[in-house]
Amino acid sequence: MLAKRIIPCLDIKDGRVVKGVSFVNLRDAGDPVEVAKTYEAEEADEIVFLDITASHEKREIIIDVARRTSEMVFMPLTIGGGIRSLKDIERLLKAGADKISLNTSAVDNPQLVRQAAEYFGSQCIVVAIDAKRSGPCSWEVYTHGGRVARGLDAVDWAKEVESLGAGEILLTSMDQDGQQTGYDLELTRSVSEGVNIPVIASGGAGTLEHLYQALVKGRADAVLAASIFHYRTYTIHQAKAYLKERGIPVRM
């Protein structure tokens, strides 16, 4: 049976992990490769690197990070943040990323999603959607790190990127992100039921119950979390044991 995936996410700036990661046994907790290796040892199912490097000149660094990670870590690696062109995608895939996550550039230029899926295959094209509640049952898409409202309905946009060839959706609730009060279950469920490709729920995980709810009530295929894993509130193993006990298929 296909297991539900538990995915830690690292924010990376200038090649270094940001948001303090509280790993005691690491020589260098700022090194994305070391952190990824730790998560691999805990049997995380995948890992996501979100590059928040501001300056365009320093963007070469993430390519080197992808290369070093894929040489040391044997699990799927998704890289997102600031990816604008087929050339950017190609370079990251060649460096060793397994999937590329597009956000702002997908909204600016939806044909990029289609072209990328045609060139590289749907399986490696993830579209990240940052959504903010705009009504009782509606959510608006934001880009540029959540700063710019785009006037797009999140569920409609999810359906559109599916038809453009995206292989997966990484869905973040901007209302819940950082709150640690649980994922936006209605948003997650609306998108997950609206498309026929896997949906990763993101934004709001504070407890293991939240992960469970996103998978059951939200119907997500995978859950992404940052703080609860980085600050060692829970290990990946604890999360999986909790879910398994409640009847969720997980890989242990």
Binding site: A3, S70, M75, P76, K94, G96, A97, P198
Partner: protein, 199 residues
């Protein structure tokens, strides 16, 4: 030496590094002399079937693959590399494959999300050398929308459930293939690469 065939269908570094991790050597190459002198081949690949066949042709890799099969060299097909070994695929109409395994590559016609993406378990049907370090029900990382169905059910070494039960490991003589990615399946996958390297 193991030759990992480079035909521009995905990143091959992780396979090479995985082989190194378990104490063996591999080269990523499309050089015919290197392929000829290798004692084992890995046929990797992610992406579309048609592009995969076209690139094998473009880089003149089809004859070296047939030669290796004829010489009885161990071959490991991974994901698209597994599918390319079949006679034909339903992807983009009907496309001819290498025809080393008689059978057809089909799209999932199921009431579940496609691609089949993530970790799923295998049900071992036959104790083949490639699986000698693996255990019944072990999880591996899959990402695919199509699966290969051999005409001869006897070459199915393991199956996986996703809406239907599909072949996830194939063996036919010295030929082995996995629909999952051993190089992305952490220690479970490295055990497969080790078993192949030590055949």
């Amino acid at each position: 030496m193991i030759a990992i065939l480079d035909f521009d269908m995905g990143n091959l570094r992780s396979i090479q590094k995985g082989i190194e991790q378990v104490g063996h050597k591999a080269v990523v190459t499309r050089d015919r002399a290197k392929i000829q002198s290798a004692h084992k081949l890995i046929l990797p690949g992610v992406g579309a079937f048609r592009d995969g066949m076209r690139n094998l042709e473009r880089y003149n890799l089809i004859t070296p693959i047939y030669n290796a099969v004829e010489a009885g060299k161990p071959i490991l097909g991974i994901c698209l590399g597994m599918q390319l070994l079949f006679s034909e695929s339903e992807e983009f109409g009907l496309t001819q494959g290498l025809g080393i395994i008689a059978g057809r590559v089909k799209r999932f016609a199921i009431n579940l999300k496609v691609p089949h993406m993530g970790w799923n378990s295998i049900d071992i049907k036959k104790p083949i050398p490639l699986l000698r370090n693996s255990t019944q029900g072990e999880y591996f990382y899959f990402v695919h929308s199509y699966y290969g169905e051999p005409e001869d059910p006897d070459c199915i070494a393991a199956t996986t459930e996703y809406g239907i039960c599909f072949p996830s490991v194939i063996s036919q003589g010295a030929l082995f293939a996995t629909q999952f990615h051993p190089e992305k399946s952490q220690s479970s996958g490295l055990k497969i690469l080790k078993a192949f390297a030590e055949l």
